[in-house]
Amino acid sequence: MTITRREMLAAGAATLAGAVVTPGLRLIELATAKSPEDAVTALRRWGMLIDVAKCNDCDACVTACREENGWQGHNRPATDAQWIRKVKLKDTETGYVQTLPLMCQHCEHPPCVDVCPTGASFKRADGIVLVDKHICIGCRYCMMACPYKARSFVHEATTDQKPYAPRGMGTVEACTLCVHRVDEGRIPACVEACTKDGHQALVFGDLKDSNSDIRERLAAASSTQLRADLKLNTGVRYTGL
């Protein structure tokens, strides 16, 4: 049997592809884990996909967030901080009920950043929207500007904060997408809790990485942005709504 030049090339390409796909995944992971001295870049955009169909009637994500970031309340629902909350949607015609977690949507064009008079509300290069509490004056414009009611104001003096999640009276705060964990190459606490409980309703990943799980899922099924009419290009997407 003779092998033509074309067949030889094709076989070579196939072998190469096979070799790269499996061990390559590991190589890419190692290469992309950020070292502490590296600044974040716009080569990534962190995002989350929430599968509402898989979202159970539990609050594992809320509890995990509260424990991770230490925003326990004072039993005053009107003013207590709430980085993530469960929202119940009911179709009034049919009575069909869905629940979903709602938090900062980490918009590409965040209104909270537009209105901030001091520059405390900002978007990091990798798309995570944060409050720099060193600069925040507590004016709460961002809370009014946010269409998702994602931000909270800290009314009470705080003690026993987590070392990686400082929070203090007179400043505004919201979901940080667990930035301290993400910078270490870990996933947010809510995603971890949901996965651990077996619901797997939350997927976290890099929206700019075409090989990431989140990109594959977004490409495979239709998803929605909440208030897509505002054209904020949210980093948090919902499917099954």
């Binding site: 070392p163 203090g168 007179g170 964990r181 870990r186 989140i214």
Partner: protein, 139 residues
């Protein structure tokens, strides 16, 4: 940590305030390696280091530990109270002596992230977490 400070400042304190009514700062530190910069540099410029690091960490995600606030607290917390505040706390005692208000602790915790389990677990998490982020090997 900071044997240099522990030795140098009491000596300094002694010569300046023998019999003085001025309460001197407490600089008890747990024994360990020396501080991240020489003692005289730290005394004068520690606020510049943490201010610079603050912006780097907050806005650019640079999380080196050398000049990080967390690193200060981890080393300087009083082993008895577990805090850098309090009458004899490393930060508070010196700041009251110098009459400079510290705002840091209205948001930051004054306690170290010391739990031995935490520290040991951190590097491992980075690796396993990297796998989790790409999602390909998530359960």
């Amino acid at each position: 940590m900071l044997i240099g400070v522990a030795v140098a400042l009491p000596a300094y304190a002694h010569e300046k305030t023998a019999g003085s009514r001025v309460p001197m700062p407490s600089v008890h530190t747990t024994p360990g390696e020396k501080c991240v910069e020489p003692t005289d540099v730290m005394r004068r410029d520690h606020m510049k280091f943490i201010l610079h690091q603050r912006d780097d960490t907050m806005h650019r995600g640079i999380r080196t530990s050398k000049h990080s606030f967390k690193n200060c607290v981890d080393c300087h917390a009083d082993p008895k109270t577990g805090s850098v505040l309090g009458k004899d706390g490393f930060c508070q005692s010196c700041h009251s002596y110098a009459a400079v208000t510290i705002d840091c602790f209205s948001c930051h915790t004054d306690k170290p992230e010391k739990q031995p389990g935490n520290k040991a677990a951190a590097p491992g998490n980075i690796q396993s977490g990297a796998a989790a982020i790409t999602g390909s090997s998530a359960p």
